[in-house]
């Protein structure tokens, strides 16, 4: 098998294994589906109740997808994957195998992309039923989602490698580090109502740019030209994310030596 063929097959093997495991633990999948669906329904009820807020429903759907659904499945899911590899000691087998760290990272991205696609379809089906609409380019929206998943997985690798040694620590790591990033990402409050210093810090937060980019396309039909800053930021962050992921994999090797 050529090195490229091996790399490709390793990536697919990791993704397929993760999806198969997800499928076998269907309870987890149900929770991941229920959470964004419930959020969308609740937001839908609130927006429908206030006539002057109805216009914001399209943006709310986009925000829930990025800030709730993908945050928990792609970021939280990746932290869980790393913690589980450690707990089950499979990490040692992986580290002793010729699995390329990038293939492992991309395998996780691929698996999370499949889950994200299902979430997008499910969430937008509910959103459509309660009156929200997607206005922009599907291709651009897909690109932003791809970049978002990539960025979330990179952050998940970092949090998982550094802060979540056991599965019990996954929630702690997500709550302590992930949720503040959500707040700074404009998921709960618009950026404009934050103090200037917070706004400046928020500009460094990839979640803000994911939110703004996807809301821009989905709710306001913005194109590449209007979103170029967010897109460039996300592309750069994806490169950083890959580096972060690979470095975190290396950290796992070092941390595993100390166990």
């Amino acid at each position: 098998m050529s090195p490229y063929g091996l790399f490709f097959d390793q990536t697919l093997a990791v993704a397929q294994r993760l999806l198969l495991e997800q499928w076998r633990q269907r309870r987890g999948l149900i929770f991941w589906a229920v959470f964004p669906a419930a959020m969308m329904l609740l937001f839908g009820l609130v927006y429908a109740h206030n006539a002057n807020m109805r216009a914001g429903l399209d943006a709310a759907a986009a925000g829930i997808l990025i800030g709730a659904a993908l945050f928990f499945s792609c970021l939280g899911g990746t932290v869980s994957i790393i913690a589980a590899e450690r707990e089950r000691h499979t990490l040692r087998r992986l580290l002793a195998s010729p699995l390329h760290p990038t293939a492992y990272f991309l395998g996780v991205v691929l698996a999370q992309l499949v889950l994200a696609t299902v979430q997008v379809l499910m969430l937008y089906s509910i959103a459509w039923l309660i009156g929200a609409r997607y206005h922009g380019s599907l291709l651009l929206g897909s690109l932003i989602l791809l970049l978002s998943v990539f960025a979330y997985v990179g952050m998940g690798f970092f949090l998982g490698a550094r802060f979540a040694r056991r599965s019990e620590e996954v929630v702690v790591a997500l709550s302590a580090i992930g949720v503040p990033l959500l707040v700074l990402g404009g998921t709960f409050f618009p950026l404009e109502i934050m103090p200037a210093a917070m706004q400046a810090v928020a500009q460094l937060n990839p979640m803000l740019h994911m939110n703004q980019a996807f809301k821009g396309v989905a709710a306001y039909n913005l194109g590449i030209a209007e979103l170029r800053f967010e897109l460039v930021f996300l592309c750069v962050f994806c490169v950083i994310s890959l580096a972060l992921g690979l470095r975190s994999y290396q950290h796992l090797r070092i941390a595993d030596q100390k166990v």
């Binding site: 097959d9 198969l20 076998r24 040692r92 002793a96 010729p98 390329h100 030596q257 100390k258």
Partner: protein
């Protein structure tokens, strides 16, 4: 016999603790060699370095004649690693676990099914083909773990205490499987706490202490290094008298875990021993041939240790 693994002068320090202290070992192709030693003597550290889970501070490891660091990714494909913990995916079926690792190791798709089927049969896992790994008992998990380590036909199989967490019956089963591998020419490096395991499975045994090999050889060779042909284990209310009498008779005396062991230069009957120790208030005597355990205790020099960790 060609050399599969050549290790020279490994040193490894964790903080203030010097875990490996000039460890050297040669493993020839087709042989099973056991690393035996007390807890913390560096057995697992050696395996971790061989499997590239750890880097030595200094020293050299050559696998199949090539320096390990220079062929990192390739070297991994030559080794099959079976850790102390079974390290499997609990939600996957046995064959799915094997398929996954076969893909990571680059086993061609055309050969993968046949190889997995072969291992399922060889390790008697077929009745559990529809059972998730997480639902298998400890012994079957360890079997599966061993099968996974072999899925890519490694040149060297590294087993870190392969029977440490299984019951006696499962241990015997695993021993039979490892014997089968040995008889088919698989090169195996294993660590063990069970001297009986090393005695039964290994062509050669390396006794470790303080991060280095203190003695190595075949089991008969190690036993022959004990200055005696039999060991008399003696219980007495007057140990000093026994020690004095034994030295008068020219027998070496070993005191371990409160018991006296007398290394006899020639096999004697119980009657002869009791007669020889007349007046030493002997309450019980047994005579056994020298075993690997005696060789271990003799060669590794545990006399200052408060306990030994062997069964």
């Amino acid at each position: 016999m060609t050399v599969a693994l050549q290790i020279d002068g490994l040193f490894k320090r964790f903080g203030k603790q010097q875990v490996l202290n000039g460890f050297s070992l040669q493993v020839r192709r087709g042989e099973v060699i056991g690393l035996v030693g007390p807890n913390g003597c560096g057995k697992s550290t050696v395996l971790n370095i061989i499997c590239q889970l750890l880097q030595a501070d200094t020293g050299q490891v050559q696998l199949m004649g090539q320096p390990m660091l220079a062929q990192s990714a390739h070297a991994r494909t030559l080794i099959g690693y079976c850790a102390q913990q079974t390290a499997l995916y609990p939600d996957l079926f046995p064959q799915e676990n094997m398929h996954f690792f076969a893909r990571l190791y680059g086993v061609p798709a055309a050969q993968r099914n046949a190889r997995v089927d072969e291992l399922m049969e060889r390790f008697h896992l077929l009745p559990y083909a529809a059972t998730r790994a997480g639902q298998l008992s400890g012994g079957w998990l360890q079997r599966l773990s061993l099968a996974v380590a072999l899925v890519h036909r490694p040149e060297l199989l590294v087993l870190d205490e392969p029977t440490v967490a299984v019951d006696l019956e499962a241990r015997m089963d695993l021993w039979r499987l490892i014997e089968g591998l040995r008889d088919s020419g698989t090169t195996i490096l294993l660590t063990s706490h069970h001297l009986a395991e090393a005695e039964r499975l290994c062509n050669r045994v390396a006794l470790m202490r303080g991060g280095r090999v203190v003695a190595e050889g075949s089991v008969p060779d190690l036993i022959s290094r004990v200055p005696g042909q039999a060991v008399a284990k003696v219980q007495s209310q007057d140990k000093q008298a026994v020690i004095q009498r034994a030295s008068e008779l020219g027998w070496s005396v070993r005191q371990r875990a409160g018991n006296l062991g007398l290394l006899l230069s020639q096999p004697l009957s119980l009657r002869e021993i009791v007669d020889a120790l007349d007046g030493c208030k002997v309450s019980a005597v047994s005579v056994d041939p020298v075993t690997l355990e005696d060789a271990y205790l003799e060669l590794i020099d545990l006399k200052h240790d408060s306990c030994s960790c062997f069964e």
